[in-house]
């Protein structure tokens, strides 16, 4: 492909090729502080023109790679960085067999990890970014990788994707130069990437032992309730993109996680109460 960038995010190596220079340049800027991605890529993502002339006329990006979705809609070239992110997510979600993947953000302190899982809109990415701004080490905003043998969590600190109001919220906590360009009119609304801090990048190969699982929900009233193992197990299978294909190994890893780590459902009216709840629960471990 005409333009290409290689990225290493945690233990995963990507090669992103593109018919246009724009998305690759944007990625290069977002990931400028990351170490060089030597070695064979685990996944390839290709940002391709849907037809040869669509490289120039009303350019739209089809996201392709080893794993593909037949019905995926192409994206605007202006949202090329989002297309690349979707492409990388997809390859990881559909192809990964080395770790149990959970749709979850994670942060660490003193070698122990807090895993926050929920659907889009639960606030898990924003919470992770806020906690990272308050001294926690960011491990990831969208995927937590659980080692099938050791049960440890590996970091996958890609640039955090913040949407709409979350962008404005984070601008209060973090300098603007940590942000990428703002994309408007994406399928998810306003979107802006937040680059992880230097500490998160430097520690990206350090695993952490899971110590607490949170199911956050944004909205009053504030509250926290312990979740039983069976319900946690079922909810985490919903949150995993590769539990089924991992078969026995997935079942064993999830069982180990659920029986060794407490889980709490947390309702929070604002990020400050969320942070306070987290600190309170963490202290009680």
């Amino acid at each position: 492909m005409r333009h290409e960038i290689r990225l290493k995010i945690g233990p995963v190596r990507f090669r992103v090729g593109s018919d246009w220079a724009g998305p690759v340049a944007a990625l290069r800027s977002l990931y400028r502080e990351y170490p060089a991605a030597d070695g064979v890529p685990d996944y390839s993502v290709r940002l391709e023109a849907t037809r040869p002339w669509r490289r120039f006329i009303r350019p739209s990006v089809a996201v392709r790679g080893d794993h593909m979705l037949p019905d995926a809609l192409p994206l605007d070239l202006a949202h090329g960085v989002l297309a690349a992110e979707i492409g990388m997510n997809l390859q990881l979600a559909l192809g990964e067999r080395r770790w149990l993947l959970l749709h979850a953000s994670s942060v660490a302190r003193d070698g122990r990890a807090l895993i926050m899982t929920g659907e889009s809109g639960s606030g898990k990415s924003t919470l992770a970014a806020v906690l990272a701004a308050r001294g926690w080490r960011l491990m990831g905003d969208e995927f937590a990788l659980v080692d099938l043998v050791t049960g440890e969590v590996r970091a996958f600190p890609r640039a955090t994707s913040l949407k709409n109001e979350a962008i404005d919220e984070m601008l209060l906590h973090v300098a603007e130069d940590r942000f990428g360009a703002e994309l408007i009119g994406t399928p998810k609304g306003r979107l802006r990437h937040l680059r992880p801090d230097a500490r998160a990048i430097a520690a990206m190969d350090e695993p952490a032992t899971p110590a607490l699982i949170l199911f956050p929900r944004f909205g009053p009233p504030e509250g926290a309730e312990a979740m039983g193992e069976a319900e946690t197990f079922v909810r985490l299978t919903q949150a995993s993109t590769n539990y089924v294909p991992l078969r026995r190994a997935g079942y064993d890893a999830l069982t180990r996680l659920v029986t060794s780590v407490p889980a709490v459902a947390v309702d929070y009216p604002d990020t400050d109460s969320a942070v306070a709840l987290v600190e309170h629960l963490w202290a009680g471990l």
């Binding site: 037949p70 019905d71 997809l90 749709h103 079922v234 919903q238």
Partner: protein
């Protein structure tokens, strides 16, 4: 019924609460497939497997010679994954089939093992 007496060193018998017949006590995990995705797998399940083409399906889902008593004709085309998924979910008949056929085909699919044609498709449908 006499209650068994508890004797030193012998544990008393446990009570097993059977619960209500109408309750559901078996939950099969149905994880959503790749939340980042959102697209539907299209797959098919041949009934029976290609190497058994022409055989009929008995009530219990086993494959039997044509015209066996109480067996049904196989479908003329492989079953579409989406059709099977909806029929299982809504407890309806498979499109264009009788009750006996749906029951026989469903039991056939439940008997599929790893290595049989259509096994992966059927399992992935039940996993939704």
């Amino acid at each position: 019924m006499d209650e068994p007496e508890a004797t030193a060193g012998v544990p008393t018998r446990r009570m097993l609460m059977l619960g209500a017949a109408g309750a559901s006590m078996v939950v099969t995990i149905r994880p959503a497939l790749a939340q980042t995705a959102g697209s539907v797998l299209t797959c098919e399940i041949p009934v029976p497997e290609p190497r058994q083409r022409g055989q009929w399906i008995a009530e219990d889902g086993t494959v039997v010679p044509p015209y066996t008593k109480d067996a049904v004709r196989p479908p003329s085309r492989p079953l579409k994954g989406e059709d099977v998924r909806k029929a299982l979910r809504d407890r309806r008949l498979l499109p264009g089939t009788s009750y006996e056929q749906t029951q026989a085909y469903t039991r056939y699919m439940q008997r599929l093992q790893n290595g049989n044609s259509g096994f992966t498709c059927f399992v992935s449908l039940k996993m939704r």
